[in-house]
């Protein structure tokens, strides 16, 4: 195939698309665009769900690295020294302790069992974006006592009747209201609600946060121990690096990266997502290939006589094959382009309006690699689907083609 032959093939392909049945061309492009969207949407959604859950686990549960008590022990002890050690290490943005206590909340006639978590508000800001999630009032100050922040599901909605609630709540607590917390050790105290937050992460939203100082009052002694310490890595430092460092520097507690923890909890979920993604991808490719194959087969069957004439006047069968192949290539490029635009639009919309469930929230996560890989796969499938019928028809003998 020389340059001249390719030029003629391209001219015939282009003119056929420009001046042939526009509705058929448009329909084919729309089908390819939708197939592309189908191929990237589900995996993108699963990636978004997975990424969303991981981000929320990091943000509100374990940080990048979790330091928990040694096996057989209940608490991380010698807290100040441990925190100083961790905070002094390269790559550590901040380490902050957590201590949870079971408690009962009372507000007017409502009683609710929750977990009350003590935090060091200033350090917590470096590790968790909780302070950015206040929907009413304000975040805790370091020296606050007698004040709490509570999650939106705990505060409840005064317009919803108790029997209609999705989960039990305090029935509409507002900032400034006083609630009573009775801890498992019998300590009981009235707290002013300083703020109400909403993170979208169920476990965090169903927690009540108090300051470390307040929890010392509950315990009746200075707290030199914690249930666990969450560590945030500085940008550019891997979780593995921090973990290795902590172990090298002699942190005796159990040190686990988010990856370590997720591989136990999320491993099978992510594996299931991968299987669904693969099935969706294969189905998408098969549908696209079959549709394009049918479209081009119909087109070539309808053009058999013209193909015969072209061959009769000296157009080589390779040129004829490329004529139909190029039509598919042009339609595939346009279809993939519009599919990518459509997906980008959906992605933007879902970033602004993520899927929110009571447990987690997620958006569509698509990377440039996803776009490139799926475009290439669809493009190759289109070429196969276009060239096979084109190859078949171009090999038909002239007389049979002309008699069609």
């Amino acid at each position: 195939m020389g340059k001249k032959e390719l030029k003629v093939a391209f001219l015939l392909a282009l003119r056929s698309l420009q001046r042939g049945s526009r509705s058929s061309v448009l329909l084919t492009i729309v089908i390819i665009a939708l197939c592309f969207t189908n191929m990237v949407f589900l995996p993108g959604l699963f990636n978004g769900i997975g990424e969303g859950i991981i981000t929320q686990i990091v943000d509100y549960e374990v940080g990048n690295v979790l330091v928990s008590p040694k096996t057989g022990e209940q608490y991380v002890t010698d807290l100040d020294a441990t925190l100083d050690l961790i905070n002094g290490m390269p790559g550590v943005e901040r380490a902050t302790p957590h201590l949870s206590k079971g408690a009962t909340l009372k507000y007017r006639q409502r009683i609710l069992g929750v977990s009350v978590k003590a935090i060091k508000p200033t350090d917590e800001k470096f590790v968790s974006p909780l302070y950015k999630k206040m929907i009413a009032g304000s975040y805790l100050g370091e020296s606050d006592t007698g004040e709490v922040i509570i999650g939106k599901p705990v505060a409840g909605d005064p317009t919803i009747k108790q029997e209609d609630e999705f989960q039990p709540s305090l029935g509409g607590v507002r900032v400034g209201d006083s609630i009573t917390i009775e801890y498992a050790n019998g300590y009981k105290k009235d707290y002013r609600v300083k703020g109400i937050y909403y993170t979208g992460w169920s476990s965090s939203d169903n927690t009540v946060y108090v300051t470390w100082s307040d929890m010392e009052l509950v315990e009746g002694k200075p707290l030199s121990y914690a249930e666990y310490i969450t560590v945030r890595a500085k940008p550019g430092y891997s979780e593995k690096f921090i973990k290795d460092e902590l172990q090298q520097y002699g942190v005796a507690e159990t040190v686990q990266t988010t990856g370590d923890l997720l591989s136990k909890v999320m491993g099978s979920i992510l594996q299931s997502f991968d299987i669904i993604n693969m099935v969706s991808l294969i189905v998408g490719i098969v549908i696209t290939t079959v549709v394009l194959f049918i479209v081009i087969t119909i087109k070539t069957i309808n053009s058999r006589r013209q193909i015969g004439i072209l061959r009769a006047i000296g157009v080589d069968k390779e040129v004829i094959m490329h004529t139909y192949g190029m039509q598919v290539v042009i339609m595939a490029v346009l279809g993939i382009f519009f599919g990518a635009l459509l997906t980008a639009g959906i992605s933007l919309y879902m970033t602004a309006h993520p899927i929110v469930t009571p447990e987690w929230s997620a958006y569509l996560l698509l990377t440039p690699e996803d776009y490139i890989m799926n475009s290439l796969i669809l493009f190759l499938a289109s070429i196969v689907a276009g060239y096979v019928p084109a190859w078949q028809v171009s090999r038909e003998d002239i007389q049979s083609a002309m008699r069609a």
């Binding site: 020389g2 003629v8 001219l11 056929s16 042939g20 009769a312 006047i313 000296g314 080589d316 002309m402």
Partner: protein, 231 residues
């Protein structure tokens, strides 16, 4: 010169064998305007297709300018058709999505010995000759049958073929347009010494032919010289 020796072509339709050509032997000289006539089913179109390398005989030999066409590969036959032969079909057979100019240029665009400029010049020149320059940007469906057939002749002639084949080119035309097409063939034959082989079933077309070969049941039943009318 075309030498045809003992040409046979049999079509099989189920269990029935139809002898489309049954031992045709002919010699056609350069510059002849040859008419192949005969009743429907006599084998005239089959003979034209064999000579135009659009179909293969079961036996016999076709030698064009000393070249035995049976020795050509499929690609060589395609190139032979492109460089040496021109075709005009009954139903014009233009590419509906190409303009008049593009249709005429198409065979020339594939020739390796023509530049884009030459293709444009040759196509324009032949369109001038058939009087359709003002329609060069029109699509075939925007032309009358006679105009479409003239475009088809222009496409066949753009590569200046050695032999022009015409398969009942006037079958879909009224008498006025038929005469216009035949006059064009006559002019091409005279001015360019172009060999033309035309299949026809109309008696009055014989006034244009130099020689008339009549077929019946796949056999040559008469081969006579004819004195064409003066155009």
């Amino acid at each position: 010169m075309i030498e045809i020796t003992d040409l046979h072509k049999i079509y099989r339709m189920g269990d029935v064998e139809v002898k489309a050509l049954d031992g045709v032997t002919l010699t056609i000289e350069k510059g002849e305007f040859l008419g192949i006539v005969g009743a429907s089913g006599s084998g005239k179109s089959t003979l034209l297709h064999m000579l135009g390398l659009l179909d293969q005989p079961n036996s016999g030999k076709i030698v064009i300018d000393g070249l035995d066409t049976a020795t050509l590969t499929d690609y060589e036959q395609t190139m032979f058709r492109l460089y040496k032969l021109g075709y005009v079909f009954q139903d014009y057979a233009l590419v509906p999505d190409l303009t008049v100019m593009e249709n005429v240029s198409l065979p020339a665009m594939l020739r390796k010995d023509r530049t884009d400029e030459q293709v444009k010049k040759d196509s324009f020149s032949i369109l001038q000759k058939i009087g359709l320059c003002d329609r060069k940007d029109h699509l075939p469906r925007e032309l009358s049958g006679g105009q479409q057939q003239r475009v088809s002749i222009a496409r066949a002639m753009v590569n200046r073929p050695d032999i022009l084949f015409a398969d009942e080119p006037c079958a879909n035309l009224d008498t006025e347009n038929s005469r216009m097409v035949l006059d064009l063939f006559d002019e091409i034959n005279h001015s360019m010494h172009q060999t033309i082989i035309m299949v026809s079933h109309e008696d009055w077309h014989r006034e244009y032919f130099h020689r008339i070969v009549r077929l019946r049941d796949g056999k040559v039943v008469s081969d006579e010289r004819n004195v064409p009318h003066e155009a």
